[in-house]
């Protein structure tokens, strides 16, 4: 049985025209992501990781190379993805359940089955009792959990996360990472996570893509040898620390250069 790639990028590039000349945000990106894979992209700010995610989401157009997502050419309309942003971006005038149903309600009137799916997702992240509450009644971590439910409710083929826990405190962040690992194992979704935390990338992903700025490009792809289930104990193991150091060395080289 061969695993089919869900994302295939060849020589993908992105150039922004500005008044002071063209700025290359991304260059020569070759990337293949398999269906069901968990990939993390790490790199300092300005390395083009968010640009890459936005191209995958169909929010921005690449300017060179080719790419497909789920067999469809990139840049041909809205992509079949769910997206989680750094801020929860919940609509404050709607309750949590309506917020989760947003991707559905933008396409059609949500059915009973849609509402059941939303409630099931809220149960999975422990927010059942908060379904009828407004976002401001939830903590930051709970809001981000609801945002993850929203990104999954329309059964997208892929989940894109752009530094989803960057605004949360370290302890909440650890707990949510364990939860993301569980959600991934339960839903079998392909996940692309953008982060500037190397330990977070290693903890969650099966493969870590290392990017470097000026111009934004992929400098390494590191396979993570741990099994699918990740627990917080992993963070203290020597293997985990060694892998993090290997990846960090890329950035030390970069800083020295």
């Amino acid at each position: 049985m061969t695993i089919s790639p869900i994302v295939e990028l060849e020589q993908l590039g992105k150039v922004y025209p500005t008044r002071t000349g063209d700025v290359t945000a991304l260059t020569d990106v070759d990337l293949r992501i398999d269906d069901g894979e968990f990939v993390a992209i790490v790199g300092p700010s300005g390395c083009g990781k968010t640009t890459l995610l936005k191209i995958l989401a169909g929010l921005e157009q690449h300017t060179s190379g080719v790419g497909t997502l789920g067999g469809r050419e990139l840049g041909s309309g809205a992509a079949d993805v769910g997206m989680v942003f750094q801020k929860a971006t919940l609509l404050p005038w709607q309750d949590v359940r309506s917020n989760v149903l947003l991707p559905v309600s933008l396409q059609r009137r949500p059915s009973k089955a849609d509402r059941a799916a939303a409630d099931e997702l809220l149960e999975m992240v422990g927010l059942t009792d908060f379904a009828s509450k407004r976002p401001h009644e939830l903590s930051g971590g709970m809001q981000q959990r609801a945002a993850i439910c929203r990104a999954l409710v329309h059964e997208p083929s892929m989940l894109l996360m752009d530094e989803p826990f960057g605004a949360l405190d370290a302890m909440t962040r650890d707990l949510l990472n364990v939860e993301v690992n569980r959600i991934w194992r339960e839903t079998h979704k392909t996940v692309v996570l953008i982060t500037h935390s190397i330990p977070e990338a290693v903890f969650l992903a099966q493969r870590v893509i290392v990017m470097s700025p000026r111009p934004g490009r992929i400098v390494d792809q590191v396979e993570v040898p741990f099994g699918p289930e990740r627990t917080l104990e992993l963070l203290g193991t020597p293997e985990f620390g060694a892998l993090c150091s290997t990846i960090r060395r890329h950035f030390e080289k970069e800083a020295a250069a």
Partner: protein, 263 residues
């Protein structure tokens, strides 16, 4: 939970304490108004005592006239406010869709925003006469700009990630406007509306001062001409009550509509 309840109680008693304070200030002012002018020997044509003002206000001959003229003023205010707010909202939503046009028009909006617009009231009386239209036009002009400026500001400060969220999920331009931009801008739209309400009262009265056949502004000028200071105060009380009522109405609607605010 008990801590939460006691905190709520503490806040509640704080709020009622504040109310008692506010009412005490009012009582002191009213008492001073009644007794200080006599004590200081101030003549009644300068500052009439409170009871004289109340007598003037509830004078059975004058009161019906006050009411009908208040009706005339409020007609000007509400008509002008309605038209001005509708125009301001429509133009703001249109400009928010057209960033290039907005860039061209913006300096003019700032320029017009900073001129004292009541100064053009005499011109409008020349153009539209002494009747209702000239007053409504002044009110429209005064109500329009705060709504326009605040709404544009609200629409332009919608969170970029929220816009991306709608785009990723294939929202149509209409859905983006109706389900994200406008609701997100509501707090600022209401701030504009509150300013518009205050401006409308000013606009109507100044336009009446400049030239009108009826309205509270006309009655104030007439009372001034006869040196009936108590009547002037009585009319000011009516005017203030109407202004406060309109403001409270807008704030109440805001609390109901923008019910996610201020928590």
């Amino acid at each position: 939970m008990s801590t939460l309840t006691s905190m709520r109680n503490a806040r509640g008693s704080g709020r009622s304490g504040q109310l008692i304070g506010t009412l005490s200030v009012l009582a002191v002012v009213l008492l001073a108004w009644q007794f200080l002018p006599t004590a200081l020997g101030t003549p009644s044509y300068v500052v009439p005592v409170l009871s004289d003002v109340l007598n003037a206000l509830f004078d059975p001959e004058a009161f019906p006239r006050y009411l009908s003229n208040a009706g005339a003023t409020m007609t000007e205010v509400l008509l002008g406010l309605g038209i001005g707010v509708a125009l301001g909202l429509a133009l703001a939503v249109t400009l928010a869709q057209l960033p290039r046009v907005y860039g061209v028009v913006f300096p003019y909006i700032v320029a017009i925003e900073s001129i004292p617009k009541v100064a053009v009231a005499p011109l409008f009386v020349i153009w539209f006469g002494f009747g209702l239209p000239s007053k409504v036009v002044v009110v429209v002009l005064l109500a329009f700009f705060p709504v326009l400026v605040n709404t544009i500001h609200g629409l332009r400060s919608v969170d970029k990630d929220q816009i991306d969220l709608f785009r990723v999920n294939g929202a149509s331009p209409l859905q983006l406007r109706m389900r994200l931009m406008i609701p997100a801008a509501l707090p600022q739209i209401f701030s504009g509306l509150e300013l518009a309400v205050a401006n409308s009262m000013i606009g109507a009265i100044v336009a009446e001062f400049v030239g009108a056949q009826e309205g509270l502004g006309v009655l104030i000028l007439q009372a001034q001409g006869r040196m009936e200071t108590a009547a002037v105060f009585a009319l000011l009380i009516i005017l203030s009550a109407l202004g406060i009522a309109l403001n409270v109405l807008v704030r109440t609607v805001r609390k109901v509509v923008v019910n996610w605010e201020g928590r």
